[in-house]
Subunit: 471 residues, 3 copies
Amino acid sequence: MSSSHAAHPDRLLPAEPGTREIARRLLDHVEDLPIISPHGHLDPAMFTANEAFPNPTALLISPDHYLTRVLHSHGVPLDALGVGGHECDPLEAWWLFYKHWHLYAGTATGYWVEQEFEHVFGINPDRLGAGDRAESDALYAELQAILERPDFRPRALAEEFGLEVLATTDDPLDDLAHHKALAEDPTFSPRVLPTFRPDAYTKMYLPAFADNVTKLIDVAGGGKTGYAGYLEAMRTRRQYFIDHGATSSDHGTHTTNSQPLDDAEASALLEKGLRGEATRAEAEAFEANMTYRFAEMAQDDGLVMTIHPGVYRNHSASAFERYGADVGADIPFQMEFTRGLQPLLSDFGENKDFHFVMFTIDETVYSREVAPLAGYYPAAYVGAPWWFIDEIDAMNRFRSATTGTTGFSRYSGFIDDTRAYCSIPARHNTSRRVEAGYLARLVAEHRLTEDRASEIIVDLIDASPRRVFKL
Amino acid sequence: MSSSHAAHPDRLLPAEPGTREIARRLLDHVEDLPIISPHGHLDPAMFTANEAFPNPTALLISPDHYLTRVLHSHGVPLDALGVGGHECDPLEAWWLFYKHWHLYAGTATGYWVEQEFEHVFGINPDRLGAGDRAESDALYAELQAILERPDFRPRALAEEFGLEVLATTDDPLDDLAHHKALAEDPTFSPRVLPTFRPDAYTKMYLPAFADNVTKLIDVAGGGKTGYAGYLEAMRTRRQYFIDHGATSSDHGTHTTNSQPLDDAEASALLEKGLRGEATRAEAEAFEANMTYRFAEMAQDDGLVMTIHPGVYRNHSASAFERYGADVGADIPFQMEFTRGLQPLLSDFGENKDFHFVMFTIDETVYSREVAPLAGYYPAAYVGAPWWFIDEIDAMNRFRSATTGTTGFSRYSGFIDDTRAYCSIPARHNTSRRVEAGYLARLVAEHRLTEDRASEIIVDLIDASPRRVFKL
Amino acid sequence: MSSSHAAHPDRLLPAEPGTREIARRLLDHVEDLPIISPHGHLDPAMFTANEAFPNPTALLISPDHYLTRVLHSHGVPLDALGVGGHECDPLEAWWLFYKHWHLYAGTATGYWVEQEFEHVFGINPDRLGAGDRAESDALYAELQAILERPDFRPRALAEEFGLEVLATTDDPLDDLAHHKALAEDPTFSPRVLPTFRPDAYTKMYLPAFADNVTKLIDVAGGGKTGYAGYLEAMRTRRQYFIDHGATSSDHGTHTTNSQPLDDAEASALLEKGLRGEATRAEAEAFEANMTYRFAEMAQDDGLVMTIHPGVYRNHSASAFERYGADVGADIPFQMEFTRGLQPLLSDFGENKDFHFVMFTIDETVYSREVAPLAGYYPAAYVGAPWWFIDEIDAMNRFRSATTGTTGFSRYSGFIDDTRAYCSIPARHNTSRRVEAGYLARLVAEHRLTEDRASEIIVDLIDASPRRVFKL
């Protein structure tokens, strides 16, 4: 263990000494529990191939838009970092990261990288940015050597991390062969589960919509055509996912609108969408109908439904053209849940066997809408802070905004939602420290006994995700 | 006094020892002051009848949607709790509450119940949820015995609570006989005041609108018909309320819109509404006009006007059908005050004898709209945190969001807004502790002297509600 | 130095002793650095004339709508305070302020006035409000005597304050003679720079629009007419400002909308606007087009572009009629940045030599929109808290809401935005204390080393405004 602040046993805990002492004790109950990760974006092929990661840049920089967007905001071109499939000199990209390391001070990404260096690679993170190009190259070489070690293969790391469950996010037509292979492999203990994510088949405003849907109906429509075939294919593929271990479907909807359409109207809209003639408003109406229909299907097949609305995708047109999607140019916009979800929750929210998890990237809806909904409907759960708001202070604001209304039991459990494999332990550890700090404050303020807080923190970290995601 | 954390003298105060010490001293100035409750939902008949409360379930569970919604979110059916007039086995309902007590950890309701047990019933709240059915039944029996004691009749409790003023919320056609009887009773010292709440007569989208308005005009229209009779009846009934002690009118408007209509237009809309032909937009336009008109009437008759907008009522259609209104399925939605109230405040806001109190359940408007409005207009006051945001952390956010702009003098004073009689002392005590903690922080940060903070806390707790509500 | 809390060396620092000690050390690095003020509303003629301030009321009360609005909200008529050019008895106005001093407890204005008294005038602020009319008059006389001293002339104070850069806000047709005179005066060292503020020429809904634009085209259109002349005049005047030291343009837009129009459409709208026939929607479309066009011009001429949207100006019609604009009746409304700025940022945001600073008076956009935009686009910067949210707790919320996403390097630097000359040191000192307290917390929580925090605070206070405003 190095002398960096990332190595400090009290890192991220509240400063007030009395509160910190309580937090330490609470953390002890959960720090070493296994990792349950019910939502993320890793590729399951990583575990079937189980090859060494090619190099530090390909592992840590290029695929992580949390990290590359910081460099980009300082004028570093994304292609120099290997984003969007662009070839880059990995040593040069590493140097760009290394020399700009000071930019990450105070950021969520900065905290994660520090933890990752300290606790995964065993390297003092204070070396980042502290030297010249030669030292950058030396650090890269050191990391490279680590990556070539057998104990740094994906499977070995999974054991090392204590990964018990890891959900991926998958296309409805994916054959899930990797998931199947992993499930059948007695030498690999983590459960790697698929998640049904049908966005590419519900958003008529995406260029590939018609091709996607045509293929979906052909493959899985059971001989039916049009809207009937479309719904049938969705049901069929959901069942296929369930048969391969899936417990949830995920929906990156544009808004929360869940207004159903009657079949004739939906059918007509789908035809328009397939001909590329739907207006934006028609496309959003169809998407809203499908949000409702997926909830309806879940009444039968039992898949947990998670919703991630409110993101303006590919805000920078030139970046989208050069690098494609998911490069850090997705920007949140204002959300509302109360009216949008009324049709869905009014019809299905009273069913306690239906689990509906609401994620938001707009903090203002926590106390105003999400907690009041989850504090009433048996089906509704408060999703963990996500994306720009999964950093330390924001996680504290989340707790403070929701707990008074819902208590602790309507919480989804932490999700890491990551593409950065080696940051998983850091992310979960951060969340455990934030929970310990928050609960410690309630104990210090005589709002909760420490005994009760000890039970709650174990429930939050371990039982909540299992219960809510039906694991 | 028990050993529970609810009995701790420092409960709910800030953890930092220096700040806590200041907070203790500030709390000393106000902890025993009488309770002024200028807005709530108790039934005045409770005090004229002065009968023993029937049983713990009927007193503590069935009427309190704050409490029942938590159980409902965990799948407990509302009828098993006696909600909405459904018959229930009170011992069974008590057991449902008792065994789910852990769900209330960290909630506002949980804190209130603990205080209520500790300080009203003299029972250690840690007994809740700690045993089996036999212990639940025993606790119920113990409470039942307490409720049968003469010092637990409503009037005796009012004295015990130090209740000086209690406002109820009343229908414009209520005869206010109970208020009259109480005012004339020399043996009962608390002032129980009616509040004029005309919502059922302004919202055309409610089923009973036409019947209500027809009756209102018949009874109080002074022989006039249509819109003229409607306005006349409102003025007459306001005066009747004033004659029976009312100092304020309360308006649970859908939005803040206050755009006035000319008489011809309003008159035509009212006719459409009475025929059941008004669109939702027309109904909201008429409601907005009435918000303006009530402010206009207040220029003459001096009633304080309070506004409580932004709630989606009866969000769950099936719950509404089974249990009726006010069962916990009311969900906030996004509010805006600046544009909606511009007509009203621009015309009447410069009149310092007009008092207009803005409550919100959307926290985002505090720093953006409510504080800037109350910090400019002599008529405008910042309403206390209400409903989902009257818990400890939310009350602190409220102070922090408004004080920098308005100081302390534009504040309505705390309101408990409750149907849960025995929670009144707990709610007011919580508010006093939060104010003490907030002011203590300002003193500890050298932003305020302790002498000044001592004056301010007395003003906040005692003088503000008297001044703002003209008590 | 007096014994008031405004004199306390730890004022405004966090209460927790360990954190406070760190904060003190961090503050030491920046407390005496020069003041860089890249945005404000002082009159440059003040420095060319360099006359004594006429009296305490004219200096401290009448021009400061932060201060007069508090008195107004308590029913003090604005004319009695000399607002909007109304004549007042300055001693009487002073007494109105003096005797209502208690209203300022806990307000941003209160903290500034205290600091100003303690550190600029050397008078114990606890004397405010502590006596009768005679003591009020005596304090006034004491201040008057101070204002007559040669070391209280504007230039002497500028040196005393350590003012290195002060930007004013100026009309595009201003001849900038005062700026020129000051720049050429070797005896005056502060740089007083103009800022190009074209709002009066872009908002068709303002009564003077047609006159303003006609004059602009006549004077600076280079012989062109209509929209072509209008654009030419804007370019010409921007260059004139640059030649006189300007480094930025400022835009008090109604919303963030930046949708460009093609030339024919813009031209037709301009003609309608000049004839006074544009609808509100058309006027806002033209304003949006100009937001885009100013960004486009900045690609060529390099002016930093700052945007201050989201204020409902002159909310009280009667106050506007009696006192004119800028009297405290400007109220924020809900803002959105993501969609509104998409056209502008998508086209120009990838250019790191373009600097675009986003100010907001709606806090909800910090974590949701402003930080995500500034954390991606090389051109985009997070503007400092402004107006109602430049008080201590709000500044802490700002840091907490943005840092996790952007770190510290996308920050504009503090702006005081003031008309109250003598409050400048207090405002900047407050900001330095807040930064020290925030960074100290990160150090105490082992999120940052103290060495790194020391570098960051110097960068925030000194380097950021120079870098972002190209000073």
